[in-house]
Symmetry: C2
Subunit: 134 residues, 2 copies
């Protein structure tokens, strides 16, 4: 994914592609990591030293509102962002705190729609443990 694609992607979602937004998008919309806002900020700052925290936070929230990102409250104390917009599960490494995507098909949950009294809109499995060093 290159710069031009990010610009097009932002436009497609009704977001004016300012230089700062593109810089944030280039990192956060094309990563398998699950960066926190501050991680995104310090990362983007390398290439764009004058960008402010507020701009990064505002941009990330804008991306979430416009459907380019999900924000996750899986770890304690801070939100992380996930550009993978199709459904999937999450694995959290308890020793490192790192979050990994698990493909939707790698697990299957039965009886979700049979929950009486609850109208299910979405669900995911959250798995915790340790990633094998492989």
């Amino acid at each position: 994914m290159v710069k031009k694609d990010i610009v097009a992607l932002l436009r497609l979602h009704g977001i004016h592609p300012s230089a700062q937004r593109v810089a944030v998008g280039e990192y956060v919309l094309d990563t398998e990591e699950h960066p926190s806002a501050d991680e995104a900020w310090s990362r983007v700052k390398k290439k764009f030293p004058r960008i402010s925290r507020a701009t990064v936070y505002n941009t990330l929230n804008l991306f979430v509102k416009k459907g380019l990102l999900h924000s996750l409250a899986l770890a304690e104390g801070k939100l992380v962002f996930d550009p993978k917009m199709d459904r999937h599960h999450h694995f959290i490494d308890e020793s490192t705190g790192k979050i990994y995507d698990l493909p939707w098909e790698s697990l299957s949950v039965s009886d979700v729609d049979g929950l009486h009294g609850f109208e299910v809109r979405q669900y995911q499995v959250v798995v915790r443990g340790k990633k094998k060093s492989t």
Copy 2:
């Protein structure tokens, strides 16, 4: 669950049952709600007006450390506490933010142990939607 039981429970877990801790425990260890620390604080304050936030926070953390509570980062921005210590799933009402326990047997997840590269220690299904008014 009455006061005496809480005292016994705390003792059983090596926690000195001070009046404040018992007051916190009476609420938070015997609820199906999933109170945040501040909710617990204001709730306990009704019966114990001079209790401080710090005491409530310290007490809750102590309970977690001693295995009487789980702390959950399911909702954005704050932790909530859950005295249900056996495994179960969670349903989050997206309009109210309320969290409900789902019995472990109400759902079943297949293939969790087949995740290659991951050593699974625990997992749960997190379901979001709307609770039916019923």
